[in-house]
């Protein structure tokens, strides 16, 4: 496959996200620019200007009408995707590290940084999908996380029942999305190794966390128990679940133990790693980035994936047929049997 290199950013990428149909990619970076691209050919659709300071996070609603971004200028902004018009700005005391729309696009959460005098807080807003309707300034719910270490990532579970948070000590916690009550925790990752990314499965009944402890773990949303663990040899910055029928997960990180190989020097050495979701075995790597991978995202239709790196490039890869045909022996037999 020939990766498409998107060079719209001057500084390191912090997050990349696909639209629900997989045709648009939104990328944010430490330069205060949000770019939107067509994933089919890498053509840039446009950019959203307004933020000052580094941008940490981006998310698009399921109808691809609204775009939310959060950054180091202590604001979260809401944009209309099509025109680039800034619809709403929310101001906070500290920088916004994560924004996420709920599954139905009706709610939006923002995670604000912990600083001296400020606790890590998660704000939830009710959003209307109609861009002409002004978004509320008042949060519907505010969760102040005081007993636990700083929140690094958060997201809405299935049916907006729970909010799952990842913390800087490697634990994940579950909170009620209506009342803000803390329900349970699980200290799944190694102590002190922060959870760098949290990405959902298609139906949000399980999620994948990536951590600096060189592992990514698959958790069940309701019970928070660890279902699978994928071990890499480098601290991970991001992990994504490929949609069915492909049973793969993609991990991205950096600072690997590089061995000297005979690769072309025009290509970078940092790799995205592919693991089988069920068997936890590594099945392939794709190199190309010139710096650690900061974010990986998979097209919800499964045709491509993209990675944003520290080198300022977004690389979009459209999979070849061998990717779709690959199966373990056991899987092949199981399929054959069930047909008979």
């Amino acid at each position: 496959m020939r990766p498409i290199l998107l060079s719209g950013h001057e500084r390191a990428l912090t997050q990349v996200k696909f639209s629900k149909e997989g045709d648009l990619i939104f990328s944010v970076s430490k330069d205060h620019v949000v770019c939107a691209w067509y994933s089919a050919n890498g053509e840039r659709f446009g950019a959203y200007k307004g933020h000052q300071g580094a941008l940490w996070t981006v998310d698009v609603d399921p109808t691809t009408t609204l775009l939310a971004t959060g950054g180091a200028d202590n604001t979260m902004r809401l944009w209309e995707v099509r025109t680039g018009k800034l619809l709403k700005t929310w101001d906070y005391a500290t920088s916004v590290k994560r924004v996420e729309f709920s599954e139905d696009g009706r709610q939006l959460l923002a995670v604000t940084e912990k600083r001296t005098g400020q606790l890590s807080t998660v704000y939830i807003y009710d959003i209307s999908p109609d861009p002409s309707e002004p978004a509320p300034s008042e949060h519907a719910l505010r969760i102040v996380v005081d007993e636990q270490p700083r929140v690094t990532v958060a997201g809405f579970s299935y049916l907006n029942h729970f909010i799952i948070m990842g913390h800087e000590d490697g634990s994940v916690s579950q909170w009620d999305a209506k009342s803000g009550e803390h329900i349970k925790d699980n200290y799944s990752h190694e102590d002190g190794m922060q959870v760098s990314d949290l990405q959902w499965s298609a139906d949000r009944t399980y999620f994948l966390t990536a951590s600096k402890d060189k592992t990514a773990k698959l958790h069940d949303t309701a019970t928070l128990e660890v279902l699978k663990t994928y071990t890499a040899d480098t601290p991970l910055n991001s992990a994504a679940i490929c949609p069915d029928p492909q049973q793969y997960v993609i991990l991205g990180g950096g600072q690997a133990a590089m061995d000297v190989t005979t690769t072309s020097q025009r290509q970078g050495k940092f790799e995205a790693r592919f693991y089988h979701k069920v068997f936890e075995e590594e099945i392939g790597r794709v190199r190309g980035h010139f710096g650690p991978l900061n974010s990986v995202a998979v097209d919800p239709t499964g045709k491509c994936y993209c990675s944003g790196g520290e080198d300022g490039y977004v690389r979009v890869h459209h999979f070849d047929p061998p990717y779709f045909d690959f199966q373990f022996e056991v899987e092949r037999e199981a399929r054959a049997e069930s047909r008979i």
Binding site: P3, L5, R44, F45, G46, T263, G284, D320
Partner: protein
């Protein structure tokens, strides 16, 4: 006549017209439909040098039907915004195509350069397979210089060589030459017969035997060969002194080799001379390491 030209039939004054400008009038493009469904278009144009160029194109038109989500189709029609607002359609300079990567998931994937094998290595492997490569030492499937048993198995050659060498001078040499080079290649004298062949060396067996050779280090720059010889002569007969000299300046490089006739002498000298002060430096004496390679 009239300045306007008219193409009336029966006109006979065409000789008075100006130069007909046939050369600058290009024929119209001609499109023909072929039997196999393609179209052939023949057109003419003037290239940069002003020459008339005929271009023939064979075009096949196929209709590819693709199913697309209506929302995606709608988004494709959106006008580009922001910095892309007035740019033409299609990827601009922010987009480039990378190098082709072969990505094939496989069971038991091992990282560490297995994916990419250098083309030179592949060629070498192929060449090896085609040629009948045989090692001269162990008859294995590799080059002699790459033989893993170079040191250990080169020895059997010496053993057989020495037996033949002891048979007598002249014959020995011929036989040795013959033995060492059963393949017909020339083997130089110092490589035949197992290296330190008896009766081959001038001046006796222990001429350069490293068992009686001492390495002296930390030698002062002002030292000379005669000085060292005198110093070490006290402990026994010195057969050879080699002082490492800088070719250009002639001064000593700091170490020397002293060879004795008798091994015991060498051992005694080693004990006595180690730590001996010479010039402004303290000498260090030890047995020289065996010369490797042969």
């Amino acid at each position: 006549m009239a300045t306007t030209v008219q193409n009336t039939p029966g006109r006979t004054d065409w000789a008075e017209d100006g130069e007909p400008e046939l050369a600058s009038v290009l024929p119209q493009p001609v499109t023909t439909k072929n039997k196999d469904g393609t179209e052939t278009v023949v057109s003419y144009y003037l290239n940069e040098a002003g020459k008339k160029v005929k271009r023939t194109q064979r075009i096949r038109r196929t209709v590819v039907k693709k199913r697309e989500n209506p929302r995606v189709a709608e988004r494709r029609q959106w006008a580009k915004m922001g910095p892309e607002a007035n740019k033409p359609a299609g990827p601009g300079d922010t987009t480039t195509l990378g190098e082709n990567i072969i990505f094939r998931p496989q069971v038991g994937f091992k990282a560490g350069g297995v994916q990419e094998k250098a083309p030179e290595e592949e060629k070498k492997n192929d060449a090896l397979k085609k040629m009948q490569i045989k090692c001269r030492i162990c008859s294995g499937d590799h080059f002699t210089t790459k033989c893993p048993f170079k040191d250990s198995m080169a020895a059997p050659e010496e053993g057989t060589g020495e037996g033949a060498g002891g048979e007598g001078g002249g014959d020995g040499i011929d036989a040795a030459g013959g033995l060492g080079s059963t393949t017909g290649a020339y083997v130089p004298i110092h490589l035949r017969n197992g290296r330190k062949g008896e009766g081959e060396r001038m001046g006796g067996k222990f001429e350069r035997d490293d068992l009686a050779t001492l390495r002296v280090t930390n030698v002062s720059e002002l030292a000379e060969e005669q000085d060292l010889r005198d110093m070490f002569e006290r402990h026994g007969r010195v057969t050879r002194v080699f002082l490492a000299k800088d070719r250009e300046t002639g001064r000593a490089k700091g170490f020397a080799f002293v060879s004795y006739a008798d091994r015991a002498d060498a051992a005694r000298a080693c004990e006595r001379m180690d730590g001996y002060g010479f010039g402004h430096l303290i000498l260090r004496v030890e047995f020289a390491k065996k010369a490797d390679g042969k």
